[in-house]
Amino acid sequence: MKRIAALLMALLRDWSRSRETVFFVVLFPIILLVIFSTVFASSAPSFGLVVQNGDIGPGGEPTNLSATFVDRLESIDPLEIKHIDADRNLTEWSRGSDGDSRRVLVLPDGFAEDVRAQSARVRIGIIRDTVARFQDDMNDSERANVQRGLEQAEREIARNATGATLQFYAPPDDQSAAVVRGILSTVLAEFNQRSIGVEEPPVSLESGTIGSAGLTATDYYLPAFIATLVLINGVMTVPGVIAGFHQDGTLKRLVATPLRKRDWILANVLQQSLLALVLTGVMLLVAAVLFGVSAIPSPLSIALVLLGAIAFSALGMTLGCLLPNPDAATSLGGIVAFPMMFLSGVFWEIDIMPETLQTIGRLMPLYQFHRGLRRLLIVGTTDGVWPAFATLGGMALVFVGLAIRLTRWRDFEE
């Protein structure tokens, strides 16, 4: 124990005196936290949409109905509407576009007329249906008058009117196109209802938030940051450091003393665990002071951070043993860490990925770690956190064992 403590102190001192390391491990994540929290807390997402209104009246102005439709679009918060002239060639325009507003909605010529015709046809259909239901209560004369009136109305509707069709164009790599299409569908449904005289829809939707009241965007991003930091520290930083100790002879000097291999492994894992705790504390403090987060770490959440640090730094030590070159070891850590970060649903919902990737993502230890932290820190429940403890605990056991097995204590490569 005395040896582990001595080595732990030496490792911490050596670490704390490296300005570059302290910057990247402590300050850089804090800067990221501040940037992310500021950006996500202060502004809702917005989606650009270019509208080409081709339904121009005789006076050269858009028809009333098409203008009303565009006005409704402009009143939707997430949409940022821009306009292009009705006679502009879309293909040419898209070549010259700066790429910021590449989604286009086209209202065709005759939009208003088509809407009115289709609306009248639907209304007539409704009247016919209503008359059919109540025909037993009508005499022959009344039925004939209604029939004549409906036939006259149908004759006045343009024969070729089939309803208006809007055209929505988006580039193939536009990941927000589906969201914009959804918003447009909602606006269209509302417009269609009103056009046939339904002012108060029979079914409506109200939305709100779930979870603890008063939580900010920062609260929700904190577990993601903490989990990612622990991962990066353990899987990307530790392999390079360990390989560096191999390469420069520091480890060889230590091996020539009575120090045990397991003491070396444990001291390094403990160092990373202490760093993870300090980092978590610093992040919570910064988030509390700057963004007023209300997440208070419980003993269980602290235990989960510790377990994550042990598991990921043990994995890092194992990787550091495989390649004695620090650069190569860091790269190997990156190969392991980056897919985990992208696939585990830490910074975006795992549901937006293809099904196969979702399955892979859910198998990643970072997925469980992040979910467990979110439940403990943000939701404030212990429900569903045990898979995280089991995953990280198993991983810690396996990789501490592997690190002890793979760390060379004799026969160093020169």
Binding site: A6, A10, R13, A256, P258, R410
Partner: protein, 322 residues
């Protein structure tokens, strides 16, 4: 320097180390006695470092046996490590820790040992105790390594090429420190390719070539046996002088008649070894008459001559055989 007599602290028998087809250490046997400074001498690649790393329990032997302080190097490594101090050839430690912090760290890894400050004082490191390791000169870094090796109060100290790359002042300081250790009774195992270092420090030496011991004895005995007590050197003129040339033949004949042994170095010098100074002096005078302008020197023999005789050349500053 006299030969130390005492019990063996290290016993090596038929020690062998191979890397695939390459034989690094080939059935080497020797012992090192208590309170002795023992030098393993040889050019790069001779097997010196491999041999001492086996004794330091840092490398696994492929065959034979080795015991340090009566303990087997493969089975009792931890007990051995508690009793030895090591300054590896490519020594390095925690860069950003100070000299005192590095030495104190190593002290805490041993159950028993010396006071950190006392060791720093002994090695004249007190002045740099608060300096980070990375800010030290090469000589001071090596001295810090020595302090780290000594702070566990070792019975045997291993110094692998302790002065390679050091300037003359730093080298002299290191020698003085090794002298002090020897006076204190610490057994020192030294690997080096500097012959001057061997003559200056070692009681006994083993000459390693291609993984095998060519000669092992006290340094004076090695010089007597292989170097001769005095030698006459006919320097190479720089021009190629064939062995059959008239002047070369005459010079060689003079040496052959009078010297106990005559050999040619790789640089072309012709060397005659003599047991008696008078005979060497006579030959020196005769050689001058037939020298044909070539320089002729009368010099005392040393380890370099032992090396020349056994290896056919001497190691340069980097340890490569010339």
């Amino acid at each position: 320097m006299t030969t130390a007599e005492g019990e063996s602290v290290i016993e090596v028998s038929d020690l062998r180390k191979t890397y695939g087809e390459t034989v690094a250490v080939d059935e080497v046997s020797f012992d090192i006695r208590d309170e002795e400074v023992f030098a393993l001498v040889g050019p790069n690649g001779a097997g010196k470092t491999t041999t001492v790393e086996i004794l330091e329990c840092l490398r696994t032997p492929s065959g034979g046996s080795a015991a340090v302080l009566g303990r087997d190097v493969t089975r009792e490594s931890r007990a051995i490590k508690a009793e030895i101090g090591v300054v590896p050839q490519s020594f390095h430690t925690f860069d950003r820790l100070t000299v005192r912090e590095n030495v104190a760290l190593i002290r805490r890894l041993y159950e028993e040992g010396l006071e950190v400050d006392a060791v720093l004082d002994e090695l004249d490191l007190a002045e740099w105790a608060g300096t980070p390791f990375r800010s030290l000169s090469g000589g001071l870094q090596r001295r810090t390594g020595m302090a780290m090796a000594l702070v566990g109060d070792p019975a045997v100290l291993f110094l692998d090429e302790p002065t390679t790359g050091l300037d003359p002042d730093a080298r002299r300081t290191t020698w003085e420190q090794i002298d002090r250790l020897a006076e204190r009774g610490t057994s020192v195992v030294l690997t080096t390719h500097y012959m001057e270092e061997v003559e200056r420090l070692a009681h006994r030496a083993a000459l390693l070539l291609d993984g095998s011991i060519e000669a092992i004895d006290t340094v004076p005995n090695l010089i007597d046996r292989y170097g001769g007590s005095i030698k006459v050197v006919v320097r190479s003129s720089g021009e190629v002088v064939g062995e059959g040339s008239p002047s070369e033949g005459a010079l060689r004949a003079i040496l052959d008649d009078a010297a106990t042994e005559v050999y040619r170095t790789k640089t072309g010098d012709l060397v005659g070894l003599f047991e008696e100074r008078e005979r060497a002096q006579e030959s020196y005078s005769q050689l001058h008459e037939h020298s044909d302008g070539r320089a002729i020197d009368l010099v005392s023999a040393g380890m370099e001559d032992v090396f020349l005789r056994l290896a056919g050349g001497t190691p340069d500053a980097r340890g490569e055989l010339e």
